[in-house]
Amino acid sequence: MTLDRDFDRIAGAFLADGPVELPDRVLDAVVDQIHLTRQRRAVRTPWRFPAMTTPLRLGMTAIIGVFILGVVLLIARPDRPAFGGPGPSPTPQTAATPKPSSATVPTLDQSFTSARNGFTVHYPTGWTATRATAPWAAGTETFWGDPALDVIRTGDARFESASQSLGSSQSPEDWLASYCSHNTPPITCGPAITIGSQTGEIGLDGDLAIGATVVRGGVVYDAAIVVDRRGYEFTLDGHVDRALFDALLATISFDTASAVDLPPLTGTFTSPSYGYTIATRPEWKATAATKRWTSTTPDSDFMDGFDVTAGTSVGIMSQPLGSRTFDEFLAAFYQRQHQTFAGSGCDDGGEPSTWPTIAIGDQTGRLEDVCSLASDEALVAVDGRVYLFELGHSDPDFPLSAFKLLLTTVTFDAASAKD
């Protein structure tokens, strides 16, 4: 048998052997890797029991619970004895009432509509909005700076949001539970909080914001909600308070039908003819126009085109307005559409005055839903030119919401157009 002292000596020598230096190349690799690695976005400081045995901890929990219950009963029913008599009737869960403080909440007079995430929020003048550029993958949490986040911020405050579709078999409760458990450490979501006209759950409520937060020493608020089988998260961090978070959330309206989980648009196409640039996907096949567009008739020869799916294409063309106004052009364009689709049983989109507005880059245009079997046409006037963006043969893989998202990426340089 090996004596203890022999074993300890041999084992000690065995463990003393071996390298004690980390090569520089490993450190270099780490430095390269962290540059590409986002830190976790937010943490909450968990309330922990001090070191106690389990029975003592359970006992303390019970005592605290009874105490809180007693206080609640006394406050809620001051006209009744604390114990005995009929109990309170169950009441439906209601959202905590926002208590915006006019002293801390600025006027929310600006509006941002998320093309990816399907909601609109109002925010203060002076804040800047940046659109999300990627979908929020199911089963993941977002990080500070995550491209899935729409960001509206100022120097020391930042409002962020992302959304994702629920899994086919996932219930709203499952999604919320999953969302909260993905926080590090997992958090207990609740209580209820008002988000627009809906009721969500608050996750982080003024916790210390650390990591790549917008400003040192700030706090973070976080709320989640499921609307129409779409899960949303909203976060506010920085030198902010609950009143501002409540006020921002109160302005939110959801348009889940317009949300889209389109992959990131990582490429760009700059038209050789028409003076615009648009984001694309690498796999989209682009074809430049071979003729100049001069009439009101859209035709493939006049179009810069992209095959975005097997059955869907996007075409773009432009021409000078000349002496016409934009409204005059729209009227002429509608006349041509009306004649084309007359008797076809296809909706011609109605009078231009009824067409809804649509964001095309930083401009506002009009959207004509020509025919559900044919196309949607978005038109806008920029610096004396009219631009037409056509979504042809839309299919479920590239819905109208994806087209709208695509149009938000357009930038115009009308002066560079070649007629």
Binding site: P19, H35, R40, I210
Partner: protein, 183 residues
């Protein structure tokens, strides 16, 4: 100094984290090698641990616990590395000795080889406990706290690892006389 770097790195300062990694890299390498018994794999585990630490740093509550927190991440990176490479046991590279001067001469090459083989028979979890106790110098309750496992589990893992290493040495002690007789 380290605390200041931790604080900066937690707030996204990459340079501070690089300085921090330089400061702790050697320590991590020493521990990882002793758990994995392979320099290449130890380097991979340390690299993974440092990147994980960067990502998770905002979750660190108490700067004073950074070393223990990082060791825990490293140990888990070692587990992953050991499992990722199933050929671990069959491909151990024994490095030349570069231990401290004045080491005990009785720790012969034969002993080390026997211990290497004995070490291969125990799980990464058991090896980690053995290293944290005998090399890093942590007490068993400290290991339990650091790794987040029950004290009883720590004791049983250490017992198993120690027994396996003892058995490796004892087996050699029993076979040595017969070898002499044959000679």
């Amino acid at each position: 100094m380290q605390q200041a770097l931790v604080d900066l790195a937690r707030r996204g300062d990459e340079e501070a984290f690089a300085d921090l990694a330089r400061a702790v890299g050697d320590r991590l390498m020493a521990i990882a090698f002793r758990i994995l018994r392979d320099a290449d794999r130890a380097e991979d585990a340390v690299q993974q641990a440092l990147v994980t630490a960067w990502r998770e740093l905002p979750t660190l509550r108490d700067d004073d616990r950074f070393d223990a927190w990082l060791r825990r991440i490293l140990v888990h990176a070692c587990y992953a590395e050991a499992r990722r490479r199933r050929s671990w046991a069959a491909n151990v590279r024994v490095l030349p000795t570069d231990g401290p001067a004045g080491r005990d001469d009785t720790a012969t090459v034969i002993d080390r080889d026997l211990l290497e083989r004995g070490f291969r028979r125990v799980s990464p979890e058991q090896r980690a406990i053995f290293v944290l106790h005998h090399y890093v110098g942590l007490t068993l309750p400290e290991i339990a706290d650091e790794l987040g496992v029950p004290l009883g589990t720590v004791k049983s893992r250490l017992h198993y690892a120690t027994s396996a290493l003892r058995a490796a040495l004892d087996a050699d002690a029993r076979t040595a006389p017969s070898t002499e007789r044959l000679a």
